[in-house]
Symmetry: D2
């Protein structure tokens, strides 16, 4: 039995007893049956909640866990409607603050503005497995979030608390390898989100060889559950294609022969912790750990998918790229060469020029790595020929480079000037793009982009 | 090396590197030297803080740690003055809320009212040993709290964050025994606050015998530091005096012979966590654990000091109790008998009748145990003849009884009706008090002390 | 990394250094290359071996590990021929003993009779992973044992040393479950010798459910390698067929609902430890552990194969049992019924009457369990229809009952009187057998199979 | 509870049950009471012992543990007299061997010459805590060894088994520091044999500082008991006096500033393992570990006592050295200088020239380190002014140098040529000695040593 499970079991036994005492005596069973969840929540927030310890919290979470879908929705709605801030007190606090802008008045205002839910959630966390259950509760909430504007307020409370509880200072990094307990490993198989792990044999190939590493963040209270993990290949060069990393027949090397650490898969594990960011801490710490253990490592790069590329390209796809409609296009060498010539400059534009309305890179993976201070290092044409990658990105993969000395500057360039830092090679691809666009006369005039591409490509073929 | 220390060391090495990159290059060293702590804090709150990971946090905490007393005070003041809420935004948020009392407006208001400090403290927690350092920072704050009203706002932020971080759900209970590492044990010696532990030999006598137990709460991030611990003696009867528990020559028994678990010392360890309550959880969990492991245990009681009794008594001391002025009064049997007859009814009054202006029991230890739902079980005359106990309580000790089935009811009686639940024996002492007060027929001797007392106290009431 | 692996790594690093010093200096490399294995072994036995610590031992084992099959054979031969006892000294010791039968003379004789190999093997064990390598060396020896009589002497030394090193007092029992590290679990898959485990999913079904248990013995020095393990099913009745235990669709129960623990698979893992017995200790300890943890358990039984039954039966098979020649015989209900009627009495005879020349039960699994003091409880017709079980035992399985209070008596009955203790039901089957044999009056049908059998077997006895 | 203790407890519970079954039923209790220890030992050696598992072994060891001194002596005597080899079988085996010197005959002879005790001890080791109890049994044996010649045979069996069980391959090295459990640490205090540890505060000063290390060998089955430990000081020079190492006021340094590791105390912990050598393995492994963790370490030396020096000197003390009779002689500077001039050459002779009848160095500590391949590096006049050191060695301490590259050669020089390897400085002291002895005319003639010394000293004083 894992230590965490043992702890959970012990808490469970305590709480069973607690629940008994909570509603002890002849009268109690009847009472318990009649008390509804909202009343129990009120009791938990009252002083009775302090005295009964974890029993009330456990009772509420158990009942919640047994609810059908509709009941669970109602429970969330009830949390929103009945456990918001006390607006009467809030209005009084505002009045006091307006009258006297003392720090005491601000504290009082801040407290009055805090929804009662937050304390309720804190007390629910006392229950055995409370944290895990609350994470699942938010997962439920997120799944239904679009249906009601009111849920947003509830989510704000979860986000606030989880941000505090899952502070990076409370996370521990643990290596995942072939000595890891099976019940953790099966979660790695389950949660892998980038390059599917087909089964235990494939998992073994990713964890056991001397040139493979995997690391995960854990939280002490969710000790059986990885929060986020990264898979790393130790290599002698920066790989261009996922096959270089994952092919069964690849040549294995010793760890100390490696010059390059390739982060080829990063997966978040807990839907209920969406938006609580650990990935950036994970990569930086893994870089540090690897550097310390393997001084021969000089390069830290990713081999990443480009999940938004195909969709973006579809909006403004030059007609000649209709070649992509034939699923076997990569097999025809000439077609592939043509596609590469057009696709890479467009990809450079996708990364370097395009922006979301908020001014951020459009690709979600790019947002993550560039936001972390990585540099866009290389575009890898046909880096991944899996169905998923062909569909999302026409097979394109990219390398992001993590150079610790440049991380702050890179990040600031993006955060403050909106500038994506990229290698000269990638930037020169953009120039090819521009050259193409300007029709050779060096003007970036009024002609629409798609049209230019089209004529360019057409011209090339004439 | 303990696991926690190892973790700390690893974090340290990462951060050293991070700090280097934070101010890397030729220019950096000069910059670092010139940047003041306030600016560093602003940087940490900015997006630059996200990118530089833990390095900035570590830099700030290291510099803070090196400050002399005066500088440290200034730092706290700066936190208060410069990192409160943005009042412009707060006023705007109030206006919006007044215009439209939507839940979105309340969230925005709550966020605007949150001092910027809170996010700053959360980010400082990313540093190696961050939590421990922040606990020390609050300790410093509390030490100087009385000096300035402004500090109260700062403390509210610490209290809010620590309440969330040290949620009982995140604490783990660990037994402390003779197999515990020495560096933890020396802290038990240091933190023991009730009955001093004179050295390792005495510690051994409290931990190693088969009829002794000790338990502590730990936090995963402060793994080397107990938060609160309780010492337990397993006995065959409820002890009346601390000597019955601690005397070297006492008879040892096997654990499974015991019927009674005596909580004879509870000590909080971290000044910086004052007011963040774990003691009640500790006792209840220890009761559950002991009950599970030793089914022969039927009674769970404390043997507790009464630290406020002598001071209270001094205010209204009956003249005859001047006997107490002779430090050797207990040695004279007749005097002792007389004193006992007067003192115990007064003590019953101290516990059952007297109240603070807020309506709570006046004795701090009583507030704790009665607030937890314990019952006042017995008053033990001359239970502790140590200098400290004689001075604080004229040697009085009491037993509080933890009966799990009654905890909620006892707690509610106090919380809602202000009623202290006590055993019939204790209550009857109060009646003697009352009888004495009302009677005056002197049936207990030539000139009853109770009567004397009565006239004194009663006089105050007339 | 597992603790054992870490320990191994550390030893390795020490030894690499040691080897360097062993042959340090310019001259050394040349020397090392020229020194043959026999000389190195002599060096290890000399005082030089004491000084060079583990380096020489490691050098020898490494070179041995690199030998091809023929070289490895020669190495074993060399151990036998060159590292036996010093016969001159032995003869002298005999003479002294004959002259003066003092205890000192016996000690000297015993020491002189000890092959030098034993000390050599003890010193080889100093090397990193020495124990594992020596176990593998014996595995090699056993694989070629039949080829030369001289190997027997060598094996006697291994057996003597391993018997001492793998003394039950040095073994630790560890549960194997779904929290066990993957690199241990894959060995469970590999070593399972009774009912093959097809892959990780099937492994999970045997380990993870609440009504399954698995335990293995480990040796501290072979911490990554189970020595022997047993798989247990917790049930509400004694199963008759392996399908009741292993079928995917079986009903799962809670552990505390179980009344019966079924040991349905016991596998030895290390060929090199053949004949060093731990299995009997394993079962008895597991019975104790389960009884302590699950007081509801009343019956401890096996569900065991009968690997020698078909071969035995073939020698004296009654003609009518030619029905068995049709592989689909169990599918025909009438045939199956007839076969059962004949087969079970024969099986009872196989267990209760037949003996090896040494007077022991002929079935190897029976020898193990009956020798441990178990009782033969029930014969299960068609308990296992797998190809292997059909071929070895015509599908027969049996239950052995472990009743701790009877173990010594059962064991003694077999060891001293040659009597197999069996349930009345099994014994009555034998009677049917006997009745059939002695009777001939055909009361069980038109022409009883038993009678046929009888005439056949009986004929053999005439 | 420690893991080892837990394991022990579990074994205990199993065995209690086993004992019950061993003598179960109405008749059993009476039987058990009547059966004497010798019979129980015979039962354990019989097949009944196999079946009853650990119960018989535990019964025997428990009864043995309860014996008074006289009974324990008788038990040992009984082991010797009743469980020696079967001489009839031995004689037969000798006859067979004489008739046919086959390897099978040798094996049979070796087995016949093995005292039955050895198998008995192996089976006793199955009991809970069996190993620890057998170690204690030998301790008892050693304490009374001188009283009877017969005990020697018994000790030979213990030595043989312990040599196998405590093979270095089964030992694990563990650091001892301030995070070590208290129950281990108190044993360090207890077992320290060279420089007494006065209490926990002094222990802390030896373990906790950054420039201190301690390591111990443990056996998996004696997990709560160190076998041997070494205390190490990390310094910047080779210390001349124990005060340099142990003084409270000494300057502490960081571990990575150290160039020198000083082994200043090595203590064997288990009397019952006397003669089973681990110390040499310990030092060499600690040297390797330290070298790996602290690459700055260049020198590995001891600071060792010279326990046999004073006794040796007394035999041939030059009359002028009567100065030593005044216990305050070191306080007189002039006297001290004189003594030094005479004492050091004599000490050089003590180490380099004097030999035991077997040709080994006379000093026991020297035998250990020189036998390990260390070099005698320096004699430190008045290195230890404690009463013990003054009495044993007139305050002399020495440094032995462990240079791994020279260890084998140094060891061989001593083992094969009887040559003690020493530094030039020490050897030159011997020359002074010789000069002195030869009266200045360079002849090592017939004049007795003491006389020469005398005249020399006398001469120096004139």
């Amino acid at each position: 039995m894992s230590e965490a499970s043992f702890f959970t079991d012990m808490l469970q036994s305590i709480t069973d007893r607690g629940r008994q005492l909570l509603f002890s005596g002849a009268r109690a069973t009847q009472v318990a049956a009649k008390v509804d969840l909202q009343t129990l929540c009120e009791m938990l927030l009252s002083s009775r909640g302090e005295a009964s310890g974890m029993a009330l919290a456990a009772e509420i979470l158990d009942r919640w866990g047994a609810l059908e879908s509709e009941g669970a929705q109602k429970f969330l709605l009830m949390l929103h409607e009945k456990f918001g801030p006390d607006t009467t007190k809030l209005d009084q606090a505002i009045d006091k603050y307006r009258a006297d802008k003392s720090s005491a008045a601000i504290i009082a205002l801040h407290q009055a503005a805090e929804p009662r839910r937050q304390e309720l959630l804190r007390r629910l966390n006392h229950a055995p497995n409370g944290t895990a259950k609350l994470v699942r509760m938010r997962q439920q909430l997120l799944a239904s979030k679009d249906q009601s504007a009111g849920y947003h307020a509830l989510d704000a409370d979860f986000t606030h608390l989880f941000g505090s509880w899952f502070n990076r200072g409370f996370l521990t990094l643990r290596p995942i390898d072939w000595t890891t307990p099976a019940y953790i490993l099966e979660k790695i198989i389950k949660y892998e989100a980038v390059h599917e792990i087909a089964g235990w044999e494939e998992l073994r190939r990713r964890l056991a060889p001397a040139d493979r590493r995997c690391f995960a963040f854990f939280h002490p209270r969710l000790a059986d559950e990885p929060l986020v993990f990264v898979e790393v290949a130790l290599t002698r060069s920066v790989p261009r294609a996922i096959g270089d990393v994952l092919d069964e027949g690849r040549e294995q090397i010793n760890a100390d022969e490696a010059t390059t650490a390739v982060f080829y898969s990063i997966s978040n594990c807990q839907d209920g912790l969406r938006g609580i960011s650990f990935g950036n801490f994970l990569i930086k710490q893994v870089v540090e750990d690897l550097r310390r253990d393997l001084p021969g490592l000089k390069n830290f790069v990713t081999l990443s998918p480009v999940p938004g590329f195909a969709r973006w390209l579809a909006k403004a796809r030059p007609e000649t790229l209709t070649a992509l409609d034939d699923p076997n296009w990569p097999d025809d060498k000439k077609t592939a060469t043509e596609v590469e010539r057009v696709l890479l400059p467009l990809a450079a534009r996708y990364f370097l020029v395009e922006r979301t309305p908020e001014g951020r890179p459009v690709d979600p993976v790019a947002r993550f790595h560039l936001g972390n201070g990585a540099r866009l290092e290389r575009l890898n044409f046909l880096g991944d020929r899996s169905a998923k990658a062909m569909q999302q990105a026409h097979g394109l993969m990219v390398n992001y480079l993590y150079k610790l000395d440049d991380i702050v500057a890179n990040h600031e360039a993006l955060a403050q000037r909106g500038e994506v830092i990229a290698s000269p090679a990638v930037k020169s691809l953009l120039n090819q793009n521009d050259e193409g666009r300007s029709g050779g006369n060096g003007q970036q005039g009024s002609r629409p982009f798609a049209q230019i591409v089209n004529s360019t490509l057409g011209g090339g073929r004439k």
